[in-house]
Symmetry: C2
Subunit: 326 residues, 2 copies
Amino acid sequence: MTHRIAVIPGDGIGQEVTPAAVEVLDALDIEFDFVEGDAGDATKAETGEALPQDTRELARGADATLFGAAGETAADVILPLREVVGSFANVRPAVSYPGLDAVQPDTDLVFIRENTEGVYSGIESEIADGVTTLTRVITEDASRDIAEFGFEYAETNGYDDVTIAHKANVMRETDGLFLETAEAVAAERDAEYNTALMDALAMHLITHPEDYGVVICPNLAGDMLSDLAAGLVGGLGLLPSANVGAENALFEPVHGSAPDIAGEGVANPTAMILSAAMMLDHLGYGEAGDRVREATEAVLDEGPRTPDLGGDGSTEEVTAAIVERL
Amino acid sequence: MTHRIAVIPGDGIGQEVTPAAVEVLDALDIEFDFVEGDAGDATKAETGEALPQDTRELARGADATLFGAAGETAADVILPLREVVGSFANVRPAVSYPGLDAVQPDTDLVFIRENTEGVYSGIESEIADGVTTLTRVITEDASRDIAEFGFEYAETNGYDDVTIAHKANVMRETDGLFLETAEAVAAERDAEYNTALMDALAMHLITHPEDYGVVICPNLAGDMLSDLAAGLVGGLGLLPSANVGAENALFEPVHGSAPDIAGEGVANPTAMILSAAMMLDHLGYGEAGDRVREATEAVLDEGPRTPDLGGDGSTEEVTAAIVERL
Ligand SMILES: CC(C)[C@H](C(=O)O)[C@@H](O)C(=O)O
Ligand SMILES: CC(C)[C@H](C(=O)O)[C@@H](O)C(=O)O
C-alpha cells in the first residue's frame, strides 16, 4: 500500500529541511507518494493567498502532511492547516541528546498541547476606540480529548509522570473547566498525575526538568512551554512535532523559517527529520521511526553537525550521514 | 516625615519573611510607621474573607504596602490588592548573583508586566453546558501606560535593551494593539527597542539571557516569563517585585507561601528584603535601597544561606547577617 504524503516546504529553511526529510523517508523500504504543495510568504506574494485552496485540498486528501515552515504568514498557514487535518492534539517532545551543549542535559519531556481552542479561537474585536477583546474558549469536549490523548500517550510511551498545566487560579471558569475535565479523565483511567500552575511550572521545568514527563496543556501554555523546553535542550533546531487528528495528521518542526540563515544550506534538518519519524510512527511504521531516530541521534552525537550546534556541517552532509546510518 | 507602611504577612513563609524585611527597614535611619493587616487562607478561615475590608483600607491609606504571600487564596488577595493600590505596572527584576548556582549566571533582566488587564479581566462565563469563555481585554490606554513606564524605567536604570513581548501573530487585535501602542511610544521617545513573539522569547531568554534587558509584557506573558527568569537565576526565593501605581504601590516577593517549608524558620528572606529595597527606592530613599541591596548581595555571596540555596542558615541568621552589613 502506497501512502500519499502532502509535502509543503513553505518558506526559508523549510525549503531546505523538508527535502532532507523526504530524502530520509525515500531511503526506507516504504512506498510513499509525495505530492508537493505551496504555502507561505512567497506563495502569498504570487497568488495573494498564504494557503491556497489546492494546498488545503492536498493536505485534506493525503494520508499525512509534512510541513516545513512559513515566514511572516506562519499563522495564516499553520493554524488553518492544523484545522484542515482536524488535529486536536499537538505532540511536542523535547529531549536532550548526549554530547550536545544543552542548558539542562536531563530533559525528556513531551508536551501534549490542546490544538483547537483557548486564545486561538480567532474571536477578536475592537469594541470601542482603543479597547479590544479576545474571547478565550475552553470546552469540556476539547479538554477531554486532549486529556485522554495525553494519558494514553504517557501509557503507550512509558512515561510515569503526567502533569496537567493550567492557570485556574486566575482563569477560574475556563482553565477551571480544563483542569476539572483532565482530572476527571485521570480518575476514570485510574491514572496518577500532578497539576501545576503554568507560571510555577515554567520555573520548575528550568531548574528540574527531570521531575517531569508528559505535560498536558491548554493551547497557548503549550506554545510557550514547548519553546521554553527547546531552550533547555539546545534550541529549536531539534524539536519535532505532530498535529494529530482522528483521521489525519500533520508533522512539522517547532522552529520557524529562520530567514537569517535561509538559503545558506546550513539549516539543521534534525527537527524536520524527527517530525518525519513521528509520521512513520503515526502511519504504523514504528520500527522505521525508531531507525530514523537512532540514526539521527547517532549523527547528533558523532557529527557532522550544523552551525547552530557548534559544527560546520551542511544540511546535506548531516542528511547524508543520517541516511547512511539507517 | 514618617511613612505609613501597611504590612500584610499573609500565609506560610509570608509570616517569616515579612518580619525579616521589617527588621531590615527598622535598622535604617528612616521613620516608618508599620501597621499590620490580615489576609490569606487563615484570615479567610477566621473571617470568611481572604482580604477583609479593613486590610484593603489599610493598604489604600498607606504610603506603601509590603505583602508577604498567600496560600490557596493567593489570587483573592493579590489581585484585589494590586487594584486597591491602583498599580498598573508590575516590576520584576531577575538578576543572577555571583557564587549562586544559577542555570544562567549572566542574567540581568527586568520584566515590566502590565498589571490590570489581559486574561486577568475576570470576565468569564459558562455560555453553554461544557463551553466556557474568558474575555481578554487589551486597551490602548493601559498599553501606553505600561510602555511609557517600561521605556522610562530602562532609561533611568541604565538598560540599553528594551524588548516588547507579544503574540500578535495569533492575538491580532488585542496583542496587535499592545504592540502597536508600545511601538508608538518608542517612536515618540525616539527609543530603540526590539519586539519578540513571547514563545520564541521564552526560548531565547533561556539560551541567551545576556541579550536582553527590560522586557515589556502583557499581563500573563509577564507572569510566565518572570517565573521562567526565576528558574534561570536560581529560584523564586530571590525575586522581588513592585506593583506601582500613580499614587501608591505594593511590594511583594514573586514567590508564594511555600507551605512545604513554612514554620521551619528556613525560608529565604532575600526576595522579601529586596522587595523592601524596591519600596525604599519608590519612597525616595534610593541610597538606602542601594545599601540594602549591597548588604543582601554580600550575604548571598558569603553566606549564611538558606537551604534553597544549598546552605543551612535560618531566616533569622540570614536577616541578622544582612542587618549587620548595612
Ligand atoms: C506560528 C504560530 C501561529 C504557531 C503557534 O502559535 O501555534 C507557532 O508558534 C507554533 O508553536 O507552532
Ligand atoms: C497568585 C497569582 C494570582 C499571581 C498572578 O498570576 O499574578 C502570581 O502568580 C504572581 O505572579 O504574582
